[in-house]
Symmetry: C2
Subunit: 175 residues, 2 copies
């Protein structure tokens, strides 16, 4: 497959973005796609070191991810991004930049994400040790019309992955 796209995961910390995006990446590679994962942490290290979690800096970070994802997408790569990307306006600006933009909302209630708390970040945020934590003292703006929604509190990881792959088939990105 030579058609690139941006597969833009968005959702709360702990909703399952990283886990699901990695499995999707492997599935796409096994089907012959070129794939790059632009994970939130990788990008903060390589493109955005020094940026804070203020709205302004988050927007700059997400714009940079979008810039790089677009360069990859228009060269036939599936660029998978997996940053929280909490603000709707910036996500939509990237959608406008790239005609092959697929938004994947990894959705789980805050209570569920907080209970999972895989990285222990919610506990720290509740204790005030981390500030501007999305869902606690910083907003998350859910997408209005994401191409794909995975309700990770109601479906298994395999079901979520299957939903994404079959959506890409229906949308004509996968044979």
């Amino acid at each position: 497959m030579e058609k690139g796209l941006i597969l833009w995961f968005t959702g709360l910390s702990g909703a399952g973005k990283t886990t699901i995006s990695r499995i999707v990446a492997e599935k796409l590679k096994s089907r012959g796609c070129k794939v790059e994962i632009l994970d939130g942490d990788i990008v903060r290290e390589n493109l955005s070191k020094g940026l804070t979690f203020s709205k302004e800096d988050r927007d700059i970070n997400v714009k940079r991810i979008g810039f790089v994802a677009h360069l990859l997408s228009r060269n036939g790569v599936v660029a998978i991004t997996a940053a929280i990307s909490p603000y709707k306006e910036i996500r939509n600006s990237i959608r406008e930049m790239d005609e092959n933009f697929i938004e994947v909302y990894i959705k789980a209630p805050l209570e569920v994400c907080e209970k999972r708390d895989v990285k222990g970040l919610y506990a720290k945020a509740r204790a005030g040790e981390i500030k501007q934590f999305t869902g606690i003292d910083d907003p998350y703006e859910a997408p209005d019309n994401p191409e794909i929604t995975c309700n990770t509190d109601q479906e298994t990881i395999e079901e979520s992955v299957g939903k994404i792959i079959s959506s890409l088939e229906k949308l004509g990105y996968l044979a």
Copy 2:
């Protein structure tokens, strides 16, 4: 052609990096290559806004260019970079990251670049209106063993372009 590479232009402001890299990009596209130009200005706008021209910030900027160029290169794209990139150590660290790294030294004596002064930047630097300007009050470290050197004070633009294209053929990047 599916083999990607990083074609890393380096040289003083006014040496001819942008002019030559754009013509090379067109030639490569006409021969079926996927090409992206990561020009210094484009990158400063999209990846490095707010960075200064201190050594530390220049290094961060050049590392970011390298990170993005590598993502493109390993996906079959010819990533052409055309930033001054004055420091040898950082250029070499990118060379170590990507096995398909071709350094193109666009070489012209400072006096020649200053006389051309296409953007009027040397005059401003001499007048002290711009600080930390490479060649004036900031160093330029020439490459020790660039794969290609274009002496733009002695050869025409066409000759420089021809030299780069034939080097890529010899190195096996172009049929």
